[in-house]
Subunit: 315 residues, 2 copies
């Protein structure tokens, strides 16, 4: 079943990157919260600079009742807004496969609580900067990984979405089972995001430094080791080793900084700097809950989880 | 040997509180770093408000060569400045017993590295606010605990200092062995200071909350349990249980806040808010080094130590 019409829910960095690219291959609608945002997109289209460079015309609305039926919904809100978005979509866009791209675990279940859906899980490491409602800069052009969720749809459907994303100029890879990739990212995120949020450091080389007892990389490695033990107990064989992902990301970051680019600021640190509620419940919280369910001790993840939660109450 | 002349090194909150009170019972000199500070003290005396209320005339200088010999030196610098202060004092004020009051462990050894001294260890939970060079407000009027250090002087000498402090209007208690009290404070400080520094929270009731899995008090309790295991391995029977100290301090704080007072801001959080180098190496760092020496695992203290150290590099 070809994908001819797409709805993207949420026009943050990631939603904007998906919407602008997809608008080149399919009729694309963006569901926003602010009327000014929808108007800017509908009148000017959405400009992408950086790794891509074009302006895409698309449809945008704040009114979910105005959405046509579609083949695909990309739920591109923060994890903290998934439940609200799923409420808005309940009973709407009925033919669509819904793709969740949130950090952590649990977004699919939140969507399903509002009605049966064909669900595709996805994770993305794309990043960018939102310059305005109608202009997003594409920085990190990494693959979106996706796969059918819990038997609600097929691997073939995930492959169709992969082809659409690639035809639109994005990088993507479908898996028959996303969990190995999802868990790799979960462990990476649960560690790097909380450590960044607590130290105020972007993802810099200190995250991989292990020479001295006081070095931060030792904590990062210990946190990832705890995460790997939980994955193993869950029967998940990881797609990538989170510690190697960390070391590679830090090295790549150093090269880019040598060329004048900024170090990557993990989203949880952005949230802390803006004194916003973070996604920690969906990331580290999800990992701790899985560990508890499986009987795996994760004292360090519990520690950083409690610290970030407490930090949120300090504002 | 009566104590007739005292030198206080450092005119921060704690140094000012000691100097002003002692000036009522002994000839008192303050060694400062800034000339304007010494001039203000010498011309106006030092005013104390709050729990005490008086102005004490005293001597002050920035020049250690101008100090007369004395019976007692109170080293009232931050732990990070002890080595510098000991360097300035090397060979000077030769008859004095030197009392260290720093947070953490190790100040006495830093002093001794600059020459043999009669040393008294002390810990204090006094707190206050420095309104100007010549005015300090006395808030928390808790006991100074003190005792002879490693056979360099006698319990009787510590008792003489206790009597002087009490005669000056301060609260004090001498112990034949300070380590039980010093370790109680070390474990309390290593935990409360780092947790405050990382969360941005003053010492509020969340530090004692343990009902929910995500509650911060569970981390506080786990950190203190690690510390208690180190003390036990060091052969130290604690003077007070740090967790009970924490619960009591939080309750007292709640009562005071109900009367409009502010919650206590631990010094490490003050340092973090001012983007200053913290005392973490002397507090949590000292505890971690002792744990390593004794072969006691302290993964949570290592975690918060690494996080605070990394935070210091983020500025």
């Amino acid at each position: 079943m070809a994908i001819e019409r797409v709805v993207v829910v949420g026009g943050g960095v990631i939603g904007s990157l998906y919407a602008a690219h997809l608008a080149r291959s399919a009729e694309t609608w963006v569901l926003t919260r602010r009327a000014a945002h929808a108007e800017a997109l509908a009148s000017h289209g959405l400009r992408v600079s950086g790794k891509s460079d074009f302006t895409a015309p698309l449809h945008a609305t704040t009114d979910e009742a105005a959405l046509p039926d579609a083949d695909l919904v990309i739920l591109a809100t923060k994890a903290t807004d998934v439940d609200g978005a799923a409420t808005r979509l309940a009973g709407r866009v009925p033919s669509a496969t819904v793709m969740t791209i949130q950090n952590g675990l649990g977004a699919e279940e939140l969507v399903r609580a509002h009605g049966e859906r064909a669900l595709v899980s996805a994770v993305t490491f794309m990043s960018g900067v939102r310059h305005s409602d109608a202009h997003v800069e594409y920085e990190l052009d990494t693959e979106t990984w996706l796969g059918p969720y819990a038997g609600t749809t097929t691997y073939e459907r995930a492959r169709e979405i992969e082809r659409l994303l690639v035809a639109s100029g994005l990088r993507a890879r479908a898996f028959p089972d996303l969990r190995p990739a999802q868990w790799s990212k979960l462990i990476f995120n649960a560690t790097v995001n909380t450590v960044a949020a607590l130290t105020g450091l972007p993802h810099v080389s200190a995250f991989a430094a292990v020479a001295e007892p006081a070095d931060l990389g030792r904590l990062v490695r210990d946190l990832m080791d705890e995460g790997k033990r939980v994955a193993a107990a869950a029967g998940v064989e990881l797609h990538e080793d989170p510690w190697e992902m960390n070391v590679l990301a830090v090295r790549r970051g150093e090269t880019e900084q040598a060329h004048g680019a900024y170090a990557h600021v993990p989203s949880m640190l952005e949230d802390v700097n803006a004194r916003r509620h973070t996604e920690v419940d969906f990331i580290t919280g999800a990992l701790v809950r899985e560990a508890t369910r499986l009987g795996v001790p994760v004292p360090l993840h519990e520690a950083v989880y409690r610290l970030v939660r407490a930090k949120e109450t300090s504002w």
